[in-house]
């Protein structure tokens, strides 16, 4: 390998030189910008052949809708700005294996009928959108009918205030095998939006201050999202009408508001929620019509509700989680309990451990009477921490009458699980 390297560089240099000299279509670089061979991006793309690199130099380019319809690399030098003047879709990718990198793309059109985006990928494979800055576009990056695309290290930022006036940061529709990695998305309607997207991974992204959801999943099976940070989004993260999703190592925090949740699960099944942190959300996880989910080794801390499990959920397993400083650890609106609680740490647990095996000797009932009352009558929250509520909760703990019998952790842990 060591001896190969210089030879390889030589080959590359030779190829470049011959390419430039002979104008044959192996791989050329076309320079766009004032004082360069091509003045406009469109000219550069028009002149490029398959496999060429169009290098766009610093400057602001207001060229309406730029269409990339051949496999080329579109590369910005010193952050050139492509401006859609609030009228056009800025960049439309309609070919496979296109690379878009180093661009500032801003001010796409805001007509909501055809969903104009900063960068929109149509029916393509292997498109890489890497290290771009997208500012104040209606949709940031929009993929439809696309496969094996990589969206990486982009900064997608808008300053929307109303849901109707802004699109999603990274919007993926009817696509497969995508990698959404290391992007930072803020100020959009949904940070990342998945609808009919399968076999994809969302990794190391940060979504904050988005108007609706940090991440929004609809009808997207067999996906995973890992090590993302979702902070202070209008309504948290929603995963709906989906099955077989893996949610690992994510942080859901500060998702506040009347209808806000750290993670909203609706009509989802056979999924795995592991090692996430739910901190200071109105409710850490809100579950509705959720089946066969495993919630394991997560931290629920300082939420209004740790988990809200609606009566329509069944066969879920909640085990080895830490519940700390939540106003209510669990609440439910029904009396039928078909979910299992097992070996969690509850900081409200007041039992004892005589044989010192770190398992409490008496079961823990995570559902307080007051949480049932508040579920039925939200303004009753007014009485939180009043003497009468304490009294009601105490008596209910001793003689359960109103809370479901089998809502119980038989083996609560005595100490915090190190996570």
């Amino acid at each position: 390998m060591h001896t190969m390297c210089p030879r390889l560089i030589k080959i590359v240099l030779c190829t470049l030189m011959t390419g430039l000299l002979m104008h044959v279509g192996i791989s050329r670089s076309l320079h766009v910008g004032s004082g360069h061979p091509y003045v406009s991006v469109k000219e550069g793309i028009a002149a490029a052949d398959q496999g060429d690199t169009v290098i766009i130099h610093a400057g602001t380019y207001k060229e309406g809708n730029i269409i990339v319809d051949k496999t080329i690399t579109l590369m910005g030098m010193d952050w050139p700005v492509l401006d859609g003047q609030l009228k056009y879709e800025v960049l439309s990718v309609k070919a496979n294996n296109v690379v878009v990198t180093g661009l500032v793309i801003q001010n796409s059109g805001h007509a909501s009928l055809d969903d104009p985006g900063g960068i929109k990928v149509y029916d393509s494979r292997g498109v890489h959108i890497i290290g771009n800055r997208l500012k104040d576009n209606f949709f940031g990056i929009y993929l439809q009918y696309s496969k094996h695309c990589i969206i990486k290290d982009n900064i997608v930022k808008a300053s929307g205030t109303e849901e109707q006036q802004i699109g999603n940061g990274i919007h993926c529709w009817k696509s497969d095998s995508l990698q959404i990695v290391g992007n930072t998305i803020s100020g959009h309607r949904d940070g990342i939006y998945f609808e009919f997207v399968t076999g994809s991974v969302i990794w190391r992204n940060i979504a904050f201050d988005n108007i609706r959801y940090g991440l929004h999943f609809m009808f997207s099976n067999d996906d995973a999202y890992i090590t993302n940070l979702f902070r202070n989004n209008g309504a948290g993260v929603a995963v709906m009408f989906t099955k077989n999703v893996k949610m690992f190592n994510n942080t859901f925090e500060d998702n506040w508001g009347d209808a806000a949740h750290g993670l909203l699960l609706k009509e989802i099944s056979d999924s795995y929620i592991f090692n996430n942190r739910f901190i200071r959300n109105t409710s850490g996880i809100y579950m509705e019509g959720t089946n066969r989910i495993i919630v394991e080794k997560n931290i629920f801390k300082a939420n209004g509700w740790g988990m809200k499990i609606q009566a329509s959920c069944m066969d879920n397993v909640i085990r080895q989680n830490n519940f700390m400083q939540n106003t209510f650890d669990i609440s439910t609106n029904g009396s039928l309990v078909l979910n299992t609680f097992d070996s969690n740490y509850w900081d409200k647990y007041e039992g004892y451990d005589l044989n010192k095996d770190n398992v409490g000797d008496v079961p823990y009932r995570p559902l307080s009477l007051f949480s049932v009352i508040v579920e039925q009558n939200p303004p009753a929250m007014l009485l939180y921490r009043s003497f009468i509520v304490t009294l009601l909760d105490r008596s209910e703990k001793i003689i359960p009458t109103l809370t479901p019998d089998n809502f119980i952790d038989q083996v609560p842990l005595m100490h915090v699980i190190p996570l």
Partner: protein, 256 residues
């Protein structure tokens, strides 16, 4: 001149066994709560319950009994060249200072040691205000009835009402009127109970996540703002002033 009466009364009450026991009780509870709980956040919430329960009880009962036991002493004071209002004010401040001091020594010191920031101050201020409110209510109890047993009965009833029955009533109303938009009215209702006022104040500071949903939003909008906090504080002060001034008016006109 009332400063002098008050000074002697403070000196007297601070040696009182019940007040010493109260200080000790608060101290033991607070220290054990903070040293047993590994996180101080939970400790504060536990302490909040204790403070909102014992402080009103001890303040109102002790004040009432002390005033009844002092009736002959008050007569002696009345035979001295001193205005009636000054005697009453002296008694009030004497009782308030000593009970507030008991609270500060018992609960305040551990709070300041274990809790940081605005929480500690708010908890302390509310504890002191609640002490003042229930001392004032104790003055009212003692002046309303000549009979000691009846006066103490009224004091216990008042405490029971404010710490338990009132909230029970609120809960009942909430369920009865659950079809109507009563959230805003609830802000007003809470002002009718000093313990509720203090509790909501502290909770807004400590456990913001507790005040959720629409009702929570309304409360936060109201008490969370500077003006709302000022109004809440003012209401609590009214809860001190009104009972005390009524009792003062009755005392000035009373035959002893």
């Amino acid at each position: 001149m009332f400063n002098k009466i008050q000074r002697f009364i403070v000196a007297d009450i601070l040696k009182n066994r019940i007040v010493l026991a109260y200080t000790l009780l608060l101290g033991v509870l607070a220290w054990s709560v903070f040293s047993l709980e590994d996180d101080s956040h939970k400790g504060v919430l536990t302490l909040l319950n204790i403070v909102l329960l014992t402080t009103p009880l001890v303040s109102i009962i002790f004040t009432t009994i002390y005033l009844y036991n002092s009736s002959e002493f008050i007569e002696l004071l009345l035979s001295q060249p001193i205005r009636r209002a000054r005697i009453w004010t002296g008694l009030f401040f004497g009782l308030f200072f000593s009970l507030a001091l008991a609270f500060i020594v018992g609960a305040g010191v551990p709070i300041l040691l274990f809790v940081t920031g605005a929480k500690a101050i708010i908890l302390l201020v509310m504890g002191i205000l609640i002490t003042a409110v229930f001392v004032a209510l104790g003055f009212l109890c003692a002046i309303i009835s000549r009979d000691k047993a009846r006066g103490i009965g009224i004091a216990i009833l008042l405490w029971l009402f404010f710490s338990l029955l009132f909230d029970g009533l609120v809960l009942f109303l909430l369920f009865q009127l659950s079809d109507y938009p009563i959230e805003k009215a609830m802000v007003g209702v809470s002002a009718l109970n000093p313990i509720d006022l203090a509790r909501i104040f502290i909770i807004l500071q400590l456990d913001v996540s507790a005040m959720l949903g629409y009702t929570g939003a309304i409360f936060k909008d109201f008490f969370g703002t500077g003006l709302g906090a000022a109004i809440g504080f003012g209401l609590l002060c009214l809860w001190v002033l009104v009972p005390y001034l009524v009792s003062l008016r009755m005392f000035v006109r009373k035959d002893l």
